[in-house]
Amino acid sequence: MTTVETAVGTSKTMVLNMGPQHPSTHGVLRVLLELDGENVVTAVPDLGYLHTGIEKSCEDKTYSQAITLTDRMDYLNPLGNNLVYCLAVEKLLGLEVPKRAQYFRVMMVELQRVSSHLVWLGTHALDMGAMSVMLYCFREREEILKIFERFAGQRMMTSYIRIGGLALEPPAGWRELVKRFLDMMPARIDEYEELLTKNRIWHGRLKGVGYLPAETLIAMSTTGPGLRAAGVAFDNRKAFPYSSYEEFDFNVPTRTESDCFARYLVRVQEMRESLKIVRQAMGKITDQGPIKSEAPGIVPPQREKMKTEMEALIYHFKIFTEGFSPPPGEVYVPVESPRGELGCFIASDGSPKPLRVHFRGPSFVNLQALPLMVKGQLIADTVASIGTIDIVLGEVDR
């Protein structure tokens, strides 16, 4: 790991080691701060404390087995990770997914976006000293996790989105479940806004903090709410629609101030837009219809077929023993995760195991801009900047 001397040299300034066990680094991020009094001269992030070699492990698993690994990267957005991986494998295979399954995927990842932003808002407010917001946010997040539990049997590591469709038929009564949440949520977002948006302390801590111009952010490969808060309305759901996003009517919230406060406003607005998308998806989903593609040899057959048809049994056996082999080639699929562009690059050599799986984690790439954001600012502002970049260390280190 980086030593203090190699990172910042020996000068008259003081070096402060922040993390890796620091509550406001949201995991195990270590930042070396060179300080002149209270002001940051340079900041050097040091990563890798959570590196688990997920990309290497994927190379040793069949295409379907690797789905469970993707859950564990960005642990606040497991469904989004499942989605990007499955979209990439489906693109390699040239596999079409039924519309009903696509709408369900949209609904689930948008609920996930709300839950991820809730965790962000709660923990960020906690970093800034507002404890009650955290309790409210986690209360609502729990409702979303309950929905996931009913759908997938799991609260967090759902692995619900599978290659060719979904893992399970949605539970009976899912409409009431989601609708109850949708009816409750807008008033709850108003509640958070009442606590924060006009709060003078909140303004004082966030306004003008962590500013970077849009050109710098683009050059630093930043995407997501951080870029949109600088006035660039780039969103992969609109720019390169996937999973039928082109059929949904929603706005891409932007601000122009490009400070921590603008990033907060963009995220709150995104939660409201996500609720709109979930409502539209519910209207589009029919009660009957397939949730998986008809793709023998790739998508596991239905249980009843397996018990009655010989072919189905053979396919079942082959999928779970040797897997399936996509044709050789490479694909890169980008989706919009709550943190920005989440990309999945897969190279296939025509064997049942991928030659290479690479995830372009938005947390990893966005974190690069941190040293520029905090230069010349106070230590307390560093905490605000780290917070509004919204990193998940599981994804940074993979």
Binding site: M220, S221, P241, Y242
Partner: protein
């Protein structure tokens, strides 16, 4: 599945060919994605053209990653995903790097965001980037030996 991402890729290739015919050694179309294979020596120049040419205007480097084709030679393939936010277009540049001399020009002078992406490749594949300002390991500890994402590195690790 709609694919506007690479719909206007042929215009990009024509543009690059008019600029310097030898910059495009091969064009690969696969599942609606376009990969432009660039000679090893011309990577930096071609990338610069992709960024500076106002009609191409690839202002962001989305991702950079490596594929190890061990035991074939040249064993490494570097893939750069370029994104043009104003034109809403994507393209992939690819170049090969040999296993004996794994060195290539850094794209950091063009896109500062390449810094960590290239550090990650250096860390996990052991490819050196000429002109990189801060080429250190990023995910692994400094004392780690080897490049774990190479195909000849065992999955369970070396003991």
């Amino acid at each position: 599945m709609p694919q506007p991402a690479h719909a206007n890729a042929s215009a990009v290739i024509d543009r690059l060919r008019t600029w310097k015919p030898e910059s495009v050694s091969q064009v690969i179309e696969y599942r609606g994605e376009t990969t432009v294979v660039v000679p090893h020596k011309l990577l930096l120049a071609t990338a610069e053209q992709c960024k500076q040419d106002p009609e191409l205007n690839f202002n962001q480097l989305s991702d950079a990653t490596c594929v190890d084709r061990f035991p074939n030679e040249p064993r490494f393939e570097l893939n750069y995903q370029l994104l043009s936010i104003p034109r809403l277009a994507r393209i992939r540049l690819r170049t090969s790097v040999s296993g004996q001399q794994p060195v290539i020009d850094s794209l950091e002078p063009l896109w500062p965001g390449a810094n960590w992406l290239e550090r990650e490749i250096f860390d996990l594949f052991g490819i050196r980037f000429e002109g990189h300002t801060d080429l250190r390991r990023i995910l692994l500890p400094d004392e780690f030996e080897g490049a774990p994402l190479r195909r000849d590195f065992p999955v369970e690790g070396k003991r």
